[in-house]
Point group: D2
Chain length 494, copies 4
């Protein structure tokens, strides 16, 4: 069991009239683009559907037929925002799309992506996964030069920088624009004649390139390629700008090839779909390996391994393989808890996790149970789970977390609580264990996580270490969680 800096947490996220049980941080976006293909809008629909786990709040598609843009953007799931008629009306050989999860404060129609419009160079549309560190400063400068910001999204900043560039080609405008921003961005940009894909030099967020017949596709994860029958080509590399036209593909590294990169390691821990390749490795395999290493680092005498579904499954399988303790589905997840589920009356509330997760008593009764989860945020959901397991008859409950304690907020495109809400930022593992009411608690070590990811370098693990690859200045209160540098963990210069 770990005795390092401690951590925990889960969460019940009640929002107006609905119960959403959130144990996790939220990816803020998924992006998709295709060019040129006669069914561009339909394929983008399928691609966004495969990326739905990266953002469920809003969805949008913009298409071009070379002469004008057509768009459909709305709050809701991909399958609710679009229907057959809508997709047919989104004519054109090029399309980009976006799914979005957003922080509560900016959950407005004005922020739905892609952003698009007409400027001196023609039409442009842009979809963005990431977060800029210097957006506020740039916004002020752009306003001083006459920009009007409709929403609060960083994406508008990039769009304005591009259209105000003096470069002649759209690709050069985008390159010039991105030369001024700091932070995380995986971008797809569409003009009437091209699709441009860009990944920031640190490569914070994933972005992959595929091909379906004569068309290129770009997506946040490879799982989007499966559905559109595209072949995986390769990652868009950190710092790479790819321009796709009818003449084919060109690649640029306008800022050189930076080392080391800072790929988000949390994609492996939780965000990405298990069937995706992320940074050229399969997510399921990495997660299973996390469980295997955790079993070696924090063994425990027990009768049964139970994952918290669905994200805890691969690590639980790995833990079972190494420990030899049987793997069982001891928690059943309901597939029917959606946005419209209403909160029970006060008098009958406090069912908490039971709405979504239900224990199988016969698997747990009288057993020493190892519960495997991928991470802990606030600790509240984990605590309820431990209680649920005990009530179902477990005689011992051992929590095993397949990532290290999360001690820092993310400023690179992930919706995280403020640092002080992260239980591991304030409590030791022992304290957290006591709070959860577990018999034991152990986290995967940093080295264990890095081993599972196959590399010790090239990842951003700031949320686990407090070492931020791109220095965060004095962010505006509205935009970013208040950051207090971690005394003993010096913040690295970018």
């Amino acid at each position: 069991m770990s005795d390092g800096p401690a951590v925990p947490s889960d969460d019940v996220f009640p929002d107006s009239g609905s119960v959403a049980i959130e144990r996790h941080w939220h990816e803020e976006c998924g992006v998709f683009g295709i060019f040129p293909h006669p069914d561009a809008s339909h394929l983008t629909y399928l691609g966004l559907h495969a990326l739905q786990h990266r953002g469920q709040e809003s969805a949008g598609i913009v298409t071009t037929d070379g002469e004008r843009l057509r768009s459909r953007l709305a709050m809701g799931l991909v399958q609710d925002v679009f229907d057959g008629n809508t997709l047919d009306e989104l004519k054109g050989h090029g399309a980009i799309g976006h799914v979005r999860y957003s922080t509560t404060g900016s959950s407005t129609p004005d922020n739905i992506q892609p952003f698009f419009g007409n400027y001196a160079g023609g039409h442009i549309a842009l979809a963005h996964n990431g977060n800029l560190i210097n957006a506020d400063q740039l916004k002020h400068e752009l306003e001083a030069r006459g920009a009007l910001f409709r929403g609060t999204s960083d994406t508008e900043v990039i769009l304005y920088l591009a259209i105000q560039s003096k470069q002649s080609s759209a690709t050069d405008r985008i390159i010039e624009a991105l030369g001024q921003v700091k932070g995380a961005y995986s971008l797809v940009v569409m003009t009437d004649e091209s699709l441009i894909a860009v990944r920031d030099p640190h490569g914070f967020r994933p972005l992959v390139l595929g091909k379906v017949k004569d068309a290129y596709v770009v997506a946040s994860e490879t799982c989007a390629f499966r559905l559109v029958d595209a072949d995986y080509v390769r990652e868009v590399e950190p710092g790479e700008v790819i321009e796709i036209t009818r003449d084919g593909l060109k690649s640029y590294f306008p800022w050189g090839k930076s080392t080391p990169t800072a790929r988000c390691i949390f994609e492996y821990v939780y965000f990405a779909r298990p069937d995706s390749l992320i940074y050229q490795r399969n997510v399921y395999v990495v997660r299973r390996e996390m469980g295997r290493i955790l079993a070696r680092e924090a063994p425990v005498a027990a009768d049964v391994i139970v994952p918290v579904p669905d994200s805890g499954v691969p690590a639980a399988i790995g833990f079972s393989e190494v420990s030899g303790i049987p793997y069982q589905t001891g928690l059943i997840r309901s597939h029917y808890v959606g946005r419209t589920f209403i909160e029970p009356r006060d008098s009958i509330r406090n069912f908490g996790v039971r709405l979504k997760l239900s224990p199988v008593h016969e698997v747990l009764r009288g057993q020493r149970v190892v519960v495997v989860d991928d991470s802990i945020v606030r600790g509240t959901t984990s605590r309820k789970l431990v209680h649920l397991f005990r009530k179902a008859g477990a005689v011992e409950v051992h929590m095993r977390i397949s990532s290290p304690p999360t001690i820092g907020s993310c400023y690179y495109g992930v919706d995280t609580p403020n640092r002080e809400e992260l239980i591991a930022s304030k409590q030791s593992v022992d304290e957290i264990r006591d709070y959860l009411g577990a018999d034991s608690l152990a986290y995967l070590s940093l080295d264990g996580m890095r081993d599972a990811a196959g590399n010790h370098d090239g990842y951003c693990d700031a949320c686990f270490t407090g070492r931020y690859p791109v220095a965060v200045g004095e962010p505006s209160v509205a935009q970013l969680p208040l950051f207090t540098s971690h005394p003993e963990l010096p913040v690295a210069p970018p």
Copy 2:
């Protein structure tokens, strides 16, 4: 009966799955603003409701509480776009609102007003009734300076000109912006600390000022004041800029007081509500006078006067008063034909006007009928009406139109067909009469219309005369109907 150069027209406007019978041109907008009032959003809702006849396609309200803007904009009627919760959430002491009718091509969510955003000077929101002549040229200039246009509305041009102005106050920015535009605009602009109302120097579109307790209200028509219990103060004068702050009202004439003005005379003919004051005259009284003069100009031996409801009613009453022929409600209008009414199957279609207008046979049978309508656009609906009257037993059908033949499109904020679709631009009155199948047809003379309006000067009557107060250059095809100045056609009196 007139034999002069003829004109007419009506229209059946089928759009996707619905039948809308349109005999008329469409006003493009109504605007409303109030500052400062604790119930700003609720009063704006009522004001927009009273202005609903000026635009049924979309509605929007933006409010300020001095610190941030809140907005709700959507396609639909005022009462469908807003509900009690929405209005409560639109907090603030200042509000502006807009209702819009738009041409088919630009009927997209991106064009819903008010436009708003954040710029170097703070927050700004803008609602516009009118049309700019030089929007395209300005748009190109602005794009060259880095502007991004999300929709196709002229309003964005004004907004960008304002925020890129070097003036320090919002009012001065607006004044500087408007110094560059040509055309028609009645504007309400809201900042965090003020409400600004502007009417272009020609005064094309109406705009009035009122007061409710300590707050000022601005609206397209006085009928909006009734509903919010505001007192009418006066017209916003052509060329006037009114700035309303917590300190009271200031008036500016930055471009001097121009003469002559060019107030749209078609407001009297059709657009405005009969209970409104327009240009300080009551609309109902002007319309009735049009009917009275028409009765003198084009008398006819007949048994009954029947208006085409509702817009033909006041002139029909006037015609009856002068002619002594009894006024009767010989056409009943259905109140239930809305946007969702579906088109009957082909096999049983062609009911045309019957869906909305139904004849009272007992009033028409065996009678010589004078049908009074306010105008004719394409002639198709009038033709069906004449047929309907004959089928109901009328032995003679005499059409009397309470305005002159419409021979030109409008470029100042009214949605009109291209010139060539206007029947009076191509046919003589005799030809139109024959097309309609009427026994006689007469239009009100230009002088008659001007007499009824109380003035021969100060009006824009370009749609009747082809004399455009602000020269129209080479408008873009998308934006404006192709205009060819009508050199050889001094418009003949009927």
Copy 3:
């Protein structure tokens, strides 16, 4: 001015979150049927649309293709309940439809008509306009024989009586069923092979027969025939049963031809559309005649006649014709106040009638105004109107009501308030005039109303006289307003 038994009334009907200003009683239904026609559902849609004024709460259509029924029933307006797909799915050569207004208490989906189902004799569907006097008693008897009532509508009673009849043909079953009921009913019944139309022996509610090509149509009013291009054939006579099959039409008078009939005279006063023939007379002409007689009975020195739109218009025109006082449109009615219009906040409420009716000051200022309305219910709306006229500058306000005082509730299919809520049941005309704040008030006399209707016999005028053609027993509280016989007006036996 009348000094007889006094009367009043109008009403503001606030229901959950919406403002509906109701000056009137409510017709409870409109019915339509067609057989056999390949476009049966589409024509029924159009027919119901024309009958929409008879009921706006719910709409339903049931069709037959000879083998099975298809149905669509929902709360809402005809154009909102049906779309093109729905109508296409309602296959079949026969169709009946229904629009409904209901009392608040029974406003549930379970009462939407037509009622339909499968029984020993095959399929049956039934739509009903009217109200039974002995429904409660029959319901108990039917329940004792094993019936299950899903809703609270009388129509289910008729349906059960019919299917439990031992007769072999559907027509005979219906006849036998109706032999047991008392009250008002205009019915359309559909089986797989026939359409049956029935009107009760008193002929309380209207019902007319038409023909379109080889198909017969039946409807509450002739206005429904216009829209489907059907020719008016004749009234379905009181006490008549019409059976329409592919072999043609058969007529029965199973209960003999009763005299006198008791046709609802209020159809002329308010319910029916002005372009309809009701009881073979045109409604507009009758209403105008009511105004003409009223002008003779209750003359007044005044400057202008103003109708309360739209129902007061014909009588106002008649009043103007006889009195020679000019008719003017002094009140403008908004077409945009629908079910979803929200109630203004308390702080800015009490606008009352202004939401729907707006005065034209220039027509009223300094004038002695005669306001013509068709009836008064509670008096509250009339009172607000008088206030509105005075505020608009009228120096005198004279109310003229084109029907006698309403002193009794209706038990024959009209939604009326309890007797004690009718202002005329408790107050004299002078008292009502004082309550309204009018300078004078006069109602049309009973004889005047009967003269206008062309007959003194054959009408039910119970709401004006308290003489009920069919004795009302001890109605259940839920079903009927509490009836207290009018002391001096003995209730006639049926």
Copy 4:
């Protein structure tokens, strides 16, 4: 590999504009009831939510406050049919609810349950899981006695039999009614003063009793108790009638205790939720045991065990435990494929299972894969899965089905295809294996399934054996799939 009588099947179920991939038969219903509890409607909502897997087409709740019923029934998921307001309006201390999956033909609002109404004995509401064998005959008899059937559901038959009973108490009426029906029924019946729960003497469908404070709850599965914090008391026994009033619970066995029972064994195979107790055994444990026995019956040399999620998971775990071959999550299931998901264009279609199930190549590549599924219907989906596995790199694909071949339709409340559509009714296991393209295929033996279920007697396994516990006569075409008795398998009398 098995060489016994062969069987298979899966299915792609395309319905209007949506893609639903259905590998399974459909349970037709879930029922829930509670009495007496102040939050009856809210708890019923939660209970139905937990039973959502038993029916996703429609949902309904009826409540009683002792004086009247209140109801809400609509097409859709539980969380879409009800919101907080609706539940608050469903006042009362008693409630029953129903979720329903229905066959295509009868998917109409008229069949949504509970059914309810008013009859001689007061109010009654009824919700039903099951199917009657003699419904058609009873329907004809009831029609002959004057019943009217609104929908096509068997439930109306029971309701009519009950209300036409001469018994005085509701419980006795229900008992008398059920004495006449044959087939499967688990019922909850609500009157103003009681809740009655009944299970047919064969006990085809499950029904359990629980307690929450002073109230009793009845539900199809115990998983509904978890969510409402109720304690499991026991099964409602086959042939038992339980009457719950404010005075407590009474139990009756009006038809004696029948042996043997015929509990549906397919609940263990697929229908029930893994965390439920069904027939007093935990579903997860039974399913895992099926996998364990299958591993012994049909071993195979392989590298990895992959379940078809989610229903194949427990058996796959059991198979892995016995075989020692590692269990891996080689197929990822999307949680976002709902009713509104649109079908891709023809040109890009045929993605089939990929929309819902996505392979993890890294788990499958180069491996000999054992795919564990619970059953095969038509075989089409299984065939696509085999192809998917091969395309992902599997070198061998061995299908293992944790139940015997399904050769017969169900007539006891499960929506099954006609016998001839079941691949195993026409093909041998070898033929099916060839059709699927698998390297091997094996089904669990009948004895193996019975061993896993813990008993060889007391189950209905007609779909596997063709031995129907209740003889099926000549069912109407509309109601039941055409049944041909299996030559070599004599149909047992009940």
